[in-house]
Symmetry: C2
Subunit: 199 residues, 2 copies
């Protein structure tokens, strides 16, 4: 076994740990890269190293950027008094792709989970409470996933803020755009029916 | 749009070009890496850069390694007089994983294709002819894919070597180990029947 083979195998094992890739697809990806060493593999490696070395968590909201305070938190135009609470950075990106929300975010970094012993202290919930006073927040929009843990966390935050005078809202539940009733689960149909609105 | 966002987007686009990954899974993979910057992302980037900078094609067989002559070609014990001809490095790796073949390889780098204007000169076939004389090869084992182009290439090589005194063989076709007849295509069943052997 030569040194390259060992290096290549290390690379395959590292890639195989990414979500969506297994040992087989990681091997295929590495071969694809090896056949494009100069044009794709080296630039990709260097881009990845640059991001790995400069990226950091925003001290205010938990978003990932190159600054201690991310561009969204640094942008005064986004101090709208609305704070969107999300589970992780992926959800923040999804909200930003939709391009509708103009306020700021707060990334919890997960959900409360009795099973995994995740309590409020692990979740940047104390920082959220502090931000509400510091930034004059008027409305908290809970954009947490519609899972058991996500909803437990939403209830916990709503309870913690009751009496603070801050409005707590949550994303509407219902039929997704383009969704077909026949393919929707019973819970979604029930929620859409309960929250029906006049046409 | 900040600099990091641009760098992260470049990274997502580069990863999305890998086989088996699309824009969505590339984004998920990058987020996964961003959340493990020190433990996974930086080592992965550095491993990738090291391999990209040291890997090269073996001058003899076309395998990828860190040396001008790959470990298999450099290993005198593998000068068995048998040369296994494969389409690309992935096939060489697959053969090596099986761990049965003890000879050397010759990587064509593709198959003949009238449609894509790939002729013998593009395929390291002249190098193959030269190696047969230089290395005293007695048998050429054609381990080409069972596709139209693969089989065209096999026929071309067999023709080119007819009269050279070198035995030309090919991998057996038949029912794969663990294969169920009900799930096999007609061509495989026909081939397995034609090549039946006494039990």
């Amino acid at each position: 076994m030569s040194d390259t083979r060992r290096e290549i195998d290390t690379l395959i094992e590292a890639l195989a740990r990414l979500p969506g890739l297994g040992p087989r697809s990681a091997r295929r990806a590495v071969l694809y890269l090896l056949q494009r060493r100069g044009t794709l593999m080296l630039p990709l490696a260097q881009a990845m190293e640059a991001v790995a070395q400069t990226a950091r968590d925003c001290l205010v909201c938990g978003n990932i950027s190159t600054d201690d305070v991310c561009p969204i938190c640094a942008n005064e135009a986004r101090a709208t008094g609305e704070l969107c609470v999300v589970e992780d950075v992926a959800d923040l990106w999804a909200m930003e792709r939709a391009g509708v929300f103009r306020g700021r975010y707060h990334v919890l970094g997960g959900t409360l989970s009795a099973l995994d012993a995740v309590g409020p202290e692990e979740l940047r919930i104390p920082q959220l409470i502090r931000r509400i006073a510091d930034e004059g927040v008027r409305e908290i929009i809970l954009a947490l996933n519609a899972t058991v843990n996500g909803q437990t966390t939403a209830h916990y935050i709503a309870d913690a803020l009751s009496g603070s005078g801050v409005a707590v809202t949550t994303l509407a539940q219902g039929v997704p755009i383009g969704g077909e009733l026949d393919y929707l689960d019973d819970g979604t149909i029930s929620a859409a029916l309960r929250s029906r609105r006049s046409f």
